[in-house]
């Protein structure tokens, strides 16, 4: 191919373009692979620490700089249960919530993190139940901690992949999560879950099953509500089993 001046321009040849594209791709891919490999241990450590911190933060107020690893190992007993509430011989780290979510609720394996009392390791103080569902843009997940009565919510904690920052993404803020504290999931002997309402700024302190909504994020709130309802149903047998045994113990 020739330019106006008549000189041959190597930059216009097909071979040059193809070689250039291949070279660029190889260099970029190499750099990215290197960066990904070099940063992976740090990123994985972040994810694992976040998982433990998320579970703990539902029941304990974590102070800045607290040794999450140590507290977690002392207080948490990890178990996996099936739909009937029986313990299965598996570890929660083997369970992929997103993968289990695709199964029929009756076939799901469910991780439970039982919080042991600091003085008496046999006593269950709280049970932390991981939940999973869909928000507006992508998946959301969370941990719900129940008091030893297996009815009152001790605390919740949500995480999300891609909710809108400032709107739906507020589910990760303690301001929103604190609204769930003290709410109850049982009405009589039935689980009715807890519903986030539409609109913000209302007072639901008298209603045990309603929490104030998030302005501008009604669809994310709906996702959260569905997630809770669905997972309370999955955990129902486990919850009821412990509820009755705890009630008998207290009698």
């Amino acid at each position: 191919m020739q330019t106006k001046n008549g000189d041959y321009n190597v930059r216009q040849s097909n071979l040059y373009i193809i070689l250039y594209a291949i070279g660029l791709t190889v260099v970029c891919a190499g750099l990215l692979a290197f960066a990904s490999q070099a940063l992976k241990p740090r990123q994985d450590a972040n994810v694992e620490l976040e998982r433990k911190a998320n579970i703990l933060s539902t029941v304990i107020t974590l102070e800045e700089g607290a040794d999450i690893e140590k507290i977690y190992n002392e207080r948490i007993r990890e178990i996996v249960i099936d739909f009937n509430g029986n313990v299965v011989d598996k570890k929660p780290t083997d369970i992929n919530l997103g993968f289990e979510y695709k199964k029929d609720p009756k076939d799901r394996l469910l991780p439970v993190f039982e919080v042991r009392s600091a003085s008496d390791p046999d006593k269950i103080e709280n049970a932390v139940l991981p939940v999973f569902g869909f928000g507006l843009w992508n998946t959301i997940a969370g941990n719900v901690a129940l008091e030893s009565d297996f009815n009152t919510i001790k605390g919740v904690n949500y995480s999300h992949v891609g909710e809108t920052p400032g709107l739906g993404a507020r589910i990760v803020s303690s301001e929103i999560q604190d609204r769930y504290k003290g709410k109850q999931i049982f009405e009589g002997d039935n689980i009715v879950s807890v519903d986030m309402q539409k609109g913000e700024g209302m007072d639901y302190s008298k209603d045990a099953h309603k929490v104030d909504g998030m302005s501008g994020a009604t669809l994310t709130a709906k996702g959260v509500n569905n997630m809770l309802r669905e997972y309370f149903r999955c955990y129902e047998n486990y919850i009821k089993k412990n509820r009755t045994s705890n009630q008998q113990a207290s009698l």
Binding site: L24, A169, G201
Partner: protein, 220 residues
Amino acid sequence: MSTEVAEVVEKKSEPLFSKKNRKLITNPLDIDNPVTVQVLGICSALAVTTQMKPAFVMAIALTVVTASSNFIISIMRNSIPGRIRIIVQLAVVSLWVIMVDQLLKAYVYDVWKQLSVFIGLIITNCIVMGRLEAYAMGNKPGPSLLDGLGNGFGYGLILLIVAFFRELLGGGSIFGFKVFEAMGLNYTGNGLMLLPAGACVIVGVVIWVQRSINGYRESH
């Protein structure tokens, strides 16, 4: 004779912070602002400005991506085949975007989570591609780097102004600090400010103020 002298002066290498090059940094802050004058990057300016912190990190991330892509593309500019130049630019931009994304994930995990999809979307930010096409393809690496920094700052400035008003009026806080509570006032957040429409209003007001200061007139 006089033209010859002028040419010789032209050929001398220019110091990096000459008057002309300093303008590369200062112009995008005001009279050539990428957001309010060129109206580029509006999409993310609406999306990440509900709070100051994500806006701040986004501004830094975009500045890093624009400046380093400008620099690299400028070094490569004489070897890039014209027919595939856009895709080459895109490859370089996405390389930097993924780098920034990975670094944030490894070192500031909570901020990375907050910005979520918007880091990845820097690739589609018109400012980045715009500067590569308009400046880096035809200028030396040094000035290109400055041009990238300048435009990143110009974008960041608007982002922070918008985020300041949105967070203050929408949530009553600045960088998460509850301003009105600290002053002992009871402030109910304005929900409109948290919606993209609130950002549109504020960007509009910023453009209005800027134009009336600069005496800008629409040319027909």
